[in-house]
Symmetry: C2
Subunit: 362 residues, 2 copies
């Protein structure tokens, strides 16, 4: 499947939605790929099922705090160096690249890498959303090693890292990214086609496009984009969603610490929603509580959207006074197993509340 400019616009919106607040500014990511299309390059997706079992797939991405990304814009080509260095170390050329997460900029970095190198991009990812840390991958949950990993920057620095485990890989590479200026370009979780089929969350790039298209066409038809979205979800692996709050942002606390954007947003209820919702953030929205009661919790999606335009709002763009609608969405089963929750469930973020699926939350 070859992507068009309209696909990219839809993808940017859908990936911002699936990014659950994280993944960086979607507009920047879209511009990076638009330029490839303008130059006549091809952005070609490949379905995971179409990969040869012995194909070599090298995912590419950025790492860093979203608050830094918006001030230090990438061209998207920087991650090519990371992929090339990993190929050199592995002694083999990649047959495809792939996103590590579906969210903001990291949905589009591999599109640029693929377009520039003439590689297809696997329509799948390892988070099924965005997460703040690199061990939080279904790839790793189901046994793929994140190492060897390459971290590069735009100044010619590079690091090839082998972590004792994926958490050590995150721990070491995070500081390298900080010293590289707060964000860096990576290639990691190199794996076979068979491993992609076994461990990736499938078809999330096309899902993001479907979500973007759904919102766009509903608005064009003057229908509620929220209702259209909630009708779409049951036709996907993310088979349940609902509006958990509507209100006005009255407070945003945000700081960049240890290489992450940390913070919380407070939303006063409107339109029949009483009380105040508080959302905790580590790059992504992790938990939503109303007056202390949990309304949705990681890894389920918590998406803050503009109540008028239904545009997803990423964490670094939250502002006082915005009228927002908060949508929570069930993640696919592969992300809710005990092994998965051990790696990116609530406890991994220091939350004491247990994971409760959004569809069973009262």
């Amino acid at each position: 499947m070859k992507l068009t400019s309209e696909d990219l616009a839809d993808l940017a919106v859908g990936a911002a939605f699936l990014g659950t607040g994280g993944g960086g500014n979607p507009y920047v990511g879209r511009l990076m790929v638009e330029r490839c299309l303008d130059e006549g390059l091809t952005v070609e997706l490949i379905d995971p099922s179409a990969l040869a079992d012995d194909a070599l797939v090298i995912p590419t991405a950025m790492m860093g705090a979203p608050t830094v990304l918006v001030e230090k814009l990438p061209s998207g080509e920087e991650a090519i160096d990371s992929l090339r260095l990993l190929e050199r170390y592995l002694g083999r050329r990649a047959d495809a690249t792939m996103p590590i997460e579906i969210g903001g900029i990291n949905s589009t970095i591999p599109l640029v890498v693929g377009a520039r190198l003439g590689l297809p991009i696997v329509d799948a990812d390892g988070m099924g959303r965005a997460f703040p840390e690199l061990q939080m991958e279904t790839f790793g949950v189901y046994g793929v090693s994140g190492s060897p990993m390459v971290v590069t920057d735009e100044y010619g620095d590079s690091t090839l890292l082998n972590g004792a485990d994926n958490k050590q890989m995150e721990w070491l590479s995070r500081m390298v990214a900080i010293r590289m200026g707060g964000c860096a370009y990576i290639a990691e979780y190199s794996m076979s086609g068979a491993d992609v089929k076994r461990t990736a969350v499938p078809n999330t790039l096309t899902l993001a496009m479907r979500i973007g298209r759904c919102l766009r066409t509903a608005k064009a038809r003057h229908e509620s984009p929220f209702e259209a979205l909630l009708r779409l979800l049951p036709q996907t692996l993310y088979n349940y969603g609902r509006i958990i709050f509507t209100g006005k942002i009255v407070d945003v606390a945000r700081e960049t610490r240890n290489g992450f954007s940390l913070g919380r947003a407070r939303i006063d209820g409107l339109a029949g929603f009483a009380g105040t919702m508080e959302i905790e953030i580590q790059n992504e929205n992790l938990i939503a509580r109303v007056d202390g009661k949990v309304k949705a919790i990681v890894p389920d999606l918590i998406c803050i959207m503009d109540s008028e335009s239904a545009e997803p709002i990423t964490t670094e763009s939250l502002r006082y006074g915005q009228r927002v609608t908060v949508v929570a969405v069930a993640v696919p089963q592969i992300m809710r197993t005990p092994e998965a929750l051990d790696v990116f469930g609530p406890r991994c973020f220091g939350l004491s509340e247990p994971f409760t699926p959004i569809e069973t939350m009262v």
Copy 2:
């Protein structure tokens, strides 16, 4: 030249002296090599002039704050992994290893690596003393790249780093070492035999042994070890030294910050020395002032020694109440060129005073 147990004892003392306060506890370093001798292994030095021009030399070392080293003791074998990984990356086996600095533990790490791998150890180093940062090498001053560099820890983590320059290499690897627990094992500045001859400070391992032997034999003869030492220096590349202060340590401020041991020591004068000497420390002793007037300044050596035993005292062992004699020594000309002072002169440590050779200091 094959080292004996007595050589090692002398080397430990001499390297602590040349380490000018840094390089970590010399006793630990000595024990590591003693064990190799006990096991029947050979520690063989090779003179730099005996190296083939196309030999591959891979220096090995630890990096980290001396305050951490004394609490996280190495076996010396950890750096073998670093050397092996760098060999793999370079696609070639090393013909010899070498110290990157002559000071404390980093004088003996390569001895263990060499003994265990059956490699000779080049009798030379890249600092002619100890320095706190990895770009502060005569190797780099005269054009050898520190990268590719390998950093490993004892848990199975490893990083292969290519810095845009040697300062970036230091900047990135420092944080990796911090995340590895405050100290780590490295292989860097791989170079040809020709480059060793051109850029290294020669014969510093044997110099350290000569210094240790000089102090030991003077004491055995009930002569002043300080006078014996000052008589020895003019027969070496470090051709001038003098006692710049004698007194009692009245204050030691020390903290471990950004991966370094930072601090200052104050010494009240005794035995004809008036006033108070203050010595500033970043792992090593950088500048000695008496009541604000500079008495010795980096890169010349500033060695704090026990006034009774003439044992060099490394920064992490400085204590209130110690009676000390401070000796300053001229470093070889290769370390005093404008290019060298650009890399490890006073300004590189944030000092505003210019470098003034100890022999011309009034």
